[in-house]
Amino acid sequence: MNRLLIVDDSLVMRSRIARLCASGAVGGIEIAGQAANGLEAIEVARRITPDCVTMDLTMPEMDGEACIAELAGLLPEARILVVSALSDKATALRAIKKGAHGFVHKPFSDAQLAAALKELMQ
């Protein structure tokens, strides 16, 4: 079972991702923790050592790009899926360079997110 950390400053988005995973639509994944910004994500990640992470980019305290760079050093085995509203190519490429493994644009359908999470875990 892959252990997922959900990082997003939106409570509604965190709940939506968690519900999708709990529904069995993804399979082989369990929610290990949640965080509302990059700093909190690093603290939680140290504690729970997730296998995979969904990462928002626009967040207070520490944004997603900085958090990805930190997590890539802290947990090099963890696979990171960016789930962000920022829709320009340059942002996606920069996130991948910093250590992300995939990118899903908001808004997303349940099917789009489930497919991206399955691909992330392969």
Partner: protein, 157 residues
């Protein structure tokens, strides 16, 4: 630095973002209407909940999503929420503003630097105009509810 006002093609980007959001996130399309100018002195936000994104970089101003509680409750329901607290309504109005602004970066590029959302209930004088040009409202209807995206932006010329 000199800034220019929004052009019709710029405003169309935000209209498309509204259509894309509702079609993708709820599977039900919104009927987006023609944008109109908000007259000087009129409030730029007037609905129950408002989510405001301040914009920087080669831009100055804000993008605000202004919606009645009933529309937001329905969106939350479509996203699978089962409790409809004030906190959830403020969260989703800010998140929608964030998503619509983020999609505009396809057109404007990463120079459109967007803040985390500020969300609040009702009219609020704390929204200080940060752009000199005319604000536009893009009205739309979804499931019988009327709401607006307000775009008040100067673009670096």
């Amino acid at each position: 630095m000199s800034y220019r006002s929004l052009r019709p093609a710029d405003i169309e980007v935000f209209s498309e973002a509204i259509s894309h959001f509702f079609a993708t996130a709820t599977s039900d399309p919104a009927q987006v209407r023609s944008a109109y100018v908000i007259e000087r002195g009129d409030p730029i936000l007037w609905n129950d909940y408002n989510g405001v994104i301040n914009v920087d970089g080669g831009f100055a101003g804000c993008v605000a999503f202004s919606a009645p509680r009933s529309l937001l409750s329905h969106v939350l329901l479509r996203m699978g929420e089962q409790d409809f607290t004030d906190e959830k309504h403020r969260d989703i109005v800010g998140e929608i503003a964030n998503i619509l602004s983020g999609r505009a970066r396809r057109h404007f590029g990463e120079g459109l630097s967007i803040s985390t959302p500020a969300a609040f209930c009702g009219r609020d004088n704390a929204v200080t105009p940060r752009a000199r040009s005319t604000p536009y409202a893009i009205p739309f209807r979804w499931h019988g509810y009327d709401a607006d995206l307000v775009v008040h932006l100067d673009v670096l010329a």
